[in-house]
Symmetry: C2
Subunit: 223 residues, 2 copies
Amino acid sequence: MADNNKIVVALDLFDPIKTRAIAQKIGEDVFAFKVGWPLILGSNSDIINDLARYAKVICDVNLANIPDINRAITENIREHGAWGIVAHPFAGKDALDAVVKSAGSMKVFSIVAMSHPGSATFIDRDTEELCALSASSGAYGVMAPGNRIDVLGKVKRLAGQMKVLATGIGTQGGDPLLALRGGADYLVIGRSVYNARDPLRELKRIDAVISRLGEEQRPEASV
Amino acid sequence: MADNNKIVVALDLFDPIKTRAIAQKIGEDVFAFKVGWPLILGSNSDIINDLARYAKVICDVNLANIPDINRAITENIREHGAWGIVAHPFAGKDALDAVVKSAGSMKVFSIVAMSHPGSATFIDRDTEELCALSASSGAYGVMAPGNRIDVLGKVKRLAGQMKVLATGIGTQGGDPLLALRGGADYLVIGRSVYNARDPLRELKRIDAVISRLGEEQRPEASV
């Protein structure tokens, strides 16, 4: 599968049995899985170990607690074998630092913009500062909306060395190709894959679309 | 126990067995328990049902997701018998509305200020707007720092009919009496109770302190 390393599949299901079945089918064809609180509510943190057998696991627990609680949650998730973890930098530098410092070799992704309309009120106002704070805390990557190309582009310019994970692709309206052209390093795709009758087939269909971007860019790259 | 209805004990432990044991001991002497992601990581959402046998349970899951995920988590927690749920309004009105609308009879508490220094950077700037948004979405209460009396007082003035839950009491430096005088309707106390050799005794000790405020205020109340 070409360019399979660009797709992060969000598994926002509560049912661990169904999730494991999908993970097993598609694990070789994703860059990583992204799992959040729904799945943990439906099982417990052992599900992270289970899924890590099939692909890297990014725990999108969007941490926004006081530093001590952020630290406790991060350590637990690290011990369960996650590859990455997601935090909200708006809780401040001490809260994000607590995540980065207790993450060990886990990658920390920081949410600097979101995919839903309501995020315009507060988060959009602070995106520039949130990016700067994320970089200064040592975040590995940032999350930004793949369905809001202008915001995504702004984040890409601000992100520096940090990787850009684009959310909101598929059901929320984001187009994979536009998001990649707009600055995404990875695409987070959820419902359109896990709700598909055949998740692997849908994943391969999206990958075929993405591959076209690679072909477009090849002549330039060879110059 | 006088005034026992003012204390919310935060049970931020991972171990469900230890947590259940403490809950059973102190349940009759608290207004409610507050539990968060650490406990759910260590067990699963069934722990909410367990604890609800001893007292009301407020799930401090500080929701800050897109509306669809906020909704899914809220429904799951409601189905497990929680009395209250906590959300971050900074994710915007649609995200908070999703919590309130799917909460049913569960009370929604909205975080408008926090107890750690880092919260000054972004959240403090927006506290007034976050309070207004919380009220307009129909939140039952707000959470504010009991260890930052000036911010607590500001929130109390902005809260209107919404109840004020004060965090940061005890280990984080907040004084129960000052927080009640400063505008708190309820006090959230965590580590100083659950880490005590005898949690019930520590709870009763704090309650005795609080009762003094009741006595001070009695003459005024009888005027």
